[in-house]
């Protein structure tokens, strides 16, 4: 049951994007079209699960050497290399997926959600399994928010939005309203 709580909390109650504010840059940049949003969502799930696994191990190594303070540097290096590796892997083994993800794959390196979740894993002192579950669930929550947003945003392209708010402005306000709707989940658990 604990895992269930963890999952529900990660996706709905403390949605990584809408509540924790992580992963905003791609959120506004990628959500203009539904296909790109879906591509990004899957890319993030893919990378985040592997990243949390590896960073977990790396942190253990840092703990042994008693130099936990350097975790930011170590983690980001791991994530950057991981993304590069995944790019090469997909290009060869699943070229269709590689084509579909396109430019969003390298962009995940700078996605604060990935580094953020890895750091949260450490701060919350999760076990390996908990960390993995949490990571996948967080990424799924990110994807959910992204896809919801993209759907609405596509419609906004055709609506009469006041000039100053066109584009990012109305996007942010919409994100706020979606996030408000997620507040409803607060009482769930």
């Amino acid at each position: 049951m604990e895992y269930f709580t963890l999952i529900v909390s990660a996706i709905f109650i403390n949605n990584v994007l809408l509540m924790r504010y992580l992963g905003l840059c791609p959120f506004l940049g990628v959500s203009k079209k539904m296909e790109t949003a879906i591509g990004m969502a899957f890319a993030v799930i893919f990378v985040l699960s592997m990243a949390s696994f590896i960073t977990f191990g790396v942190f253990k190594l840092l703990a042994i050497a008693k130099i936990e303070y350097i975790r930011t540097l170590a983690f980001i290096l791991v994530i950057a290399s991981l993304v590069q590796f995944v790019e090469m892997f997909l290009k060869k083994v699943i070229p269709a997926l590689y084509k579909a993800l396109g430019i969003f794959l390298p962009l995940i390196t700078t996605n604060c959600a990935v580094l953020g979740v890895c750091i949260i894993n450490i701060n919350e002192k999760f076990t390996l399994v908990e960390a993995l579950v949490f990571s996948v669930a967080s990424a799924a929550g990110f994807g959910l928010a992204l896809i919801l947003f993209a759907g609405i945003r596509e419609k906004f392209e055709l609506a009469r939005v006041p000039k100053p708010l066109q584009g990012t402005g109305i996007g942010l306000i919409t994100a706020g309203l979606i996030s408000l709707s997620f507040f409803a989940f607060m009482g769930m658990i």
Binding site: Y21, I76, L77, S81, T109, T110, L172, L177, S179
Partner: protein, 195 residues
């Protein structure tokens, strides 16, 4: 000299992050619950930005093209670790309230973006000016947003205990309010900018 001035000034208004130059949004919403946090994050980010711009620009002819992104990230991360530790030591309360957003300065698209778009192509002095301008602009934005959110969201005048609003808009202190406030501020800035 006028070049320096130009690069510096553009970050303060015409290309002010994150309003005109829509990058680096993650911390903006998270830390601006109070004005103090906003200023703190702004200063930290400015420090990292200036230092990384300096170093990237200084090394721009040495860093090979294929590994440049990885190198920039390592440079930025190093400075972030420094900031992390300094904050923990000298401003523990601030460090506590800023939480994971301090290490997340590493992946702040603003810093990486300036390194990629500016520092790698321009001499050191201009890069530092650019970093300083952008950083201060960023800090100003954070401060403004933090001010509004604290005043109307908590009802207190920042840095004091003076309660001015009996029934503050708690909405502004939470995530939804942050988004909406940022969106509206962006709109207002667009209107002012047009005039």
């Amino acid at each position: 000299m006028s070049d320096l001035k130009k690069e510096f000034l553009k970050g303060l208004w015409s290309v002010i992050p994150p309003f005109r130059f829509v990058l680096g949004l993650c911390p903006v919403l998270a830390v601006t619950t109070t004005m103090e946090n906003g200023i703190g994050m702004g200063v930290a980010a400015t420090f990292v930005l200036v230092c990384s711009n300096f170093l990237v620009s200084a090394l721009r002819n040495i860093i090979p093209d294929q590994v440049r992104v990885a190198c920039y990230i390592v440079i930025i991360a190093t400075f972030v670790v420094v900031v992390e530790m300094v904050m923990k030591a000298y401003a523990p309360a601030l460090s506590e309230s800023l939480g994971i957003f301090i290490p997340l300065i590493v992946v702040n698209c603003l810093i990486l973006g300036r390194a990629e778009a500016f520092a790698k192509k321009n001499p050191v002095a201009l890069s530092v000016a650019d970093g300083l301008g952008m950083g201060i602009g960023f800090t100003m934005s954070l401060t403004a947003l933090g001010f509004i959110r604290e005043l109307f969201g908590k009802g207190v005048i920042p840095f004091t205990e003076i309660q001015v609003l009996a029934q503050p808009f708690d909405f502004l202190q939470k995530a939804p309010g942050a988004y909406v406030a940022l969106g509206l501020m962006l709109g207002i800035l667009n209107v002012i900018g047009k005039k």
